[in-house]
């Protein structure tokens, strides 16, 4: 049986477009490093805000226990 038309199109227009776009990405590595740095800072910030919140909740709970 002949194979369906779902293979062997390694040089298709869309594949060529993918290769072209990928090879012309000119990824800015300093921008990528900036993204990572911002991400780490944000995680630290969110964690410290959560810890702060937890500590305030804990203090409030103790206060209510005393009442």
């Amino acid at each position: 049986m002949p194979e369906r038309e779902f293979i062997s199109d390694k040089d298709s227009e869309m594949r060529a477009k993918i290769r072209s776009i990928m090879s012309e990405m000119n990824t800015d590595t300093s921008k990528v490093e900036d993204v990572i740095s911002k991400f780490e800072d944000k995680l630290e910030d969110l964690n410290s805000r959560l810890e702060n919140l937890e500590s305030r909740v804990s203090k409030l709970e103790k206060k209510f226990d005393l009442l």
């Binding site: 002949p2 779902f6 199109d9 390694k10 594949r15 776009i21 995680l43």
Partner: protein
């Protein structure tokens, strides 16, 4: 109208197959007809989560590509198998035979393949959502699947490698004219409680975050024993992913409504 959705990630082990299987049953629970396709051609595993045995999966996508069977032979109706009360879930699996895997990697899929599969599922099975579970990374076949799809759902864990990869992937997809939506997966539970997390991460990676799924040991340990949401519908993981499923429906409905008539 059928919507095609790709579940993708830059790195492996981010939970693509777990998300695909659970998302499919949740969309079905919302009354949708869904087809999940295992496009992780080098390491297919979606059938394991659906509890589909090799006896049940007699034919695969590989057989169809090489004209060894009809389309109906590769489409498995899992609605009764999964005991779904609403909607429908169909499954199309990839071959686990090494010789078939090597062949399809070497030859690659045609760009016509994805459109053909989606059109057949739409016309012959009245499918609302086709979900492609892809191979991680930026290989050509995966990018072909993404380019042929309407929606890309990128899964990202909260670590530096995933952030880098997700940022780069979303930039690439933007170049292709594709908007990707990010779901944060396996998020440390304390961090997942922060209501600011989705918007803050969105700003940093320059892509919209539409869901936050905390890390749950139960989900990880359940992986090969069926679709988690079906066994634990009240679990927070199920309710969080249900929100993602509803968001996917909203987004695709919006984009269909904004299409010129």
């Amino acid at each position: 109208m059928t919507t095609t959705c790709v579940v993708h990630s830059y790195r492996g082990g981010t939970g693509k197959s777990t998300t695909t299987s659970n998302l499919s049953v949740l969309l079905a629970a919302l009354g949708k007809r869904v087809a999940a396709i295992d496009m992780d051609i080098t390491s297919p595993g979606l059938h394991v989560i659906y509890n589909v045995s090799s006896q049940m999966m007699r034919n695969t996508l590989n057989d169809y590509i090489y004209n060894r069977c009809e389309f109906s032979d590769i489409v498995m109706d899992l609605t009764n198998h999964l005991k779904l009360p609403r909607g429908a879930v169909y499954f199309l699996g990839s071959s686990m035979k090494p010789e078939e895997i090597v062949k399809v990697i070497r030859e690659g899929y045609s760009e016509k393949f994805f459109r053909h599969i989606s059109e057949k599922l739409s016309r012959e099975y009245n499918i609302d959502y086709v979900i492609f579970d892809t191979h991680p990374g930026l290989n050509e076949d995966t990018l072909l699947a993404i380019m042929s799809s309407d929606v890309s759902l990128l899964l990202m864990r909260m670590d530096k490698q995933d952030v880098t990869g997700t940022y780069i992937t979303s930039q690439i997809l933007r170049k292709f004219g594709k908007l990707s939506y990010v779901t944060l997966n396996m998020v440390p539970p304390n961090l997942a409680e922060s209501s600011d997390l989705p918007s803050e991460v969105s700003k940093i990676i320059e892509a919209p975050v539409i869901g936050v799924l905390p890390f749950y040991e139960e989900v990880l340990s359940h992986r090969s024993r069926g679709v988690f949401c079906l066994h634990h519908p009240q679990h927070p993981y199920s309710s969080q992913l249900l929100r993602v499923a509803k968001r996917v429906i909203e987004l695709t409905t919006q984009s269909q409504n904004s299409m010129p008539v």
